[in-house]
Symmetry: C2
Subunit: 188 residues, 2 copies
DNA sequence: ACCAGTTTTTACCATATGGTAAATGATGTC
DNA sequence: GACATCATTTACCATATGGTAAAAACTGGT
């Protein structure tokens, strides 16, 4: 739980009592590999914070191919926030790539904390923003070639390459698995 | 100026007096085509809101090629917000693709409004978030082929294709200008 | 209207990546 | 430990895109 506290403190000022209040609203969720945290077509009802493991966002394109849109490692929020806020159906799955441990806020608690903690609104928004910045900084750059994108992936997510199926990484980078396999071979 | 008011009202509650206060802090900036709103290497000092014209974010990669990272049309914020907030040097240029009219907040005003308007913080953050959502929704999808990406671009930015140099669009989509020219030809 | 400079198109070949298929390697279950 | 299942690698050819170069079409200034 300390991880969440650290994360919050790095963002805004909040005292010990308030932190306890925040923590009292959380639950710990253990997700097995491949389990979903939220699903496409459903309205997201909770916010997660990854303590252990790797999550991913993914969807199925019009050819039925499964595309990984992002990876989410520990110390990050896992939620489809636009649809969470708007109470609209998500268009992607949030799935555990490995066994995961996640701190969970229900939507009610996440929002009601704004009434009990002055400044929670600001902290909330900053957390979401940081999350978005991360995602965009770590997204593959479309103007780079596949090898460069894979090397950048290795830098951005040093511990992921061995833990995560090649197919997930390939679709994240916008190449086929065969291409990625070839790229791996050429690198060493 | 009405455009900004509409934008703000759609995000949060704010009364007429407060709107006037916001407006009193703004200035109108006319940018000629190709002029910069902010530059790589400099600390961004202001937030813009596009009234007319098209802006873009761009940078030079390690091969010296100019890459367009995003387009910003009217009714959107134009600012490198992470570096604006952190007082750190930007890594990209924000440049006018066409003659532009922009509403400008200085950093001081943008931040001080939080002291005079209750809830400005929340509005501010929501504006930035919306901006980020837009950008990510309208970004080319790396797993799609170049033609599909161009067709999506035409949908996302219906009025841009004729107004903006091919080279800008090409680097945004991650293809060479020659390829994009060929794609255009094959489409009709 | 002309010219210089820029942008866009076209052409040609080289190359990276995709598609299909099969072989190899890993993993978990009984 | 044997087997079925799934993930990864390899091979082969097809194709989209890149690179270089030149031609054609615009653009703005005089």
């Amino acid at each position: 739980m300390q991880e969440l506290t650290d994360y919050i403190l790095q963002i805004g000022n909040i005292n010990k009592q308030q932190i306890e209040l925040v923590e009292s609203k959380t639950a710990i969720l253990d997700l097995k590999k491949d389990a979903y945290f939220s699903e496409a077509g459903l309205i997201p009802k909770r916010v997660g914070f990854v303590l252990e493991g790797v999550m991913r966002g993914c969807y199925y394109n019009n050819k039925g191919e499964e595309i990984t849109r992002c990876f989410i490692g520990k110390g990050n929020l896992v939620v489809d926030y636009p649809n969470f806020e708007a109470n609209t159906a998500s268009s992607e799955y949030l799935q555990a790539c490995t066994d995961c441990k996640i701190i969970v806020f229900s939507k009610t608690d996440w929002e009601e904390l704004s009434n009990t903690i002055v400044g929670w609104d600001v902290i909330k928004n900053k957390m979401v923003q940081q999350c978005l910045y991360q995602k965009s900084r770590k997204s593959p750059v479309i103007s780079q070639d596949a090898t460069t994108r894979y090397l950048a992936f290795l830098k951005n997510y040093p511990s992921f390459a061995n833990r995560i199926p090649l197919a997930y990484i390939a679709s994240f980078l916008g190449v086929t698995q065969q291409s990625l396999s070839r790229i791996r071979k050429n690198i060493r």
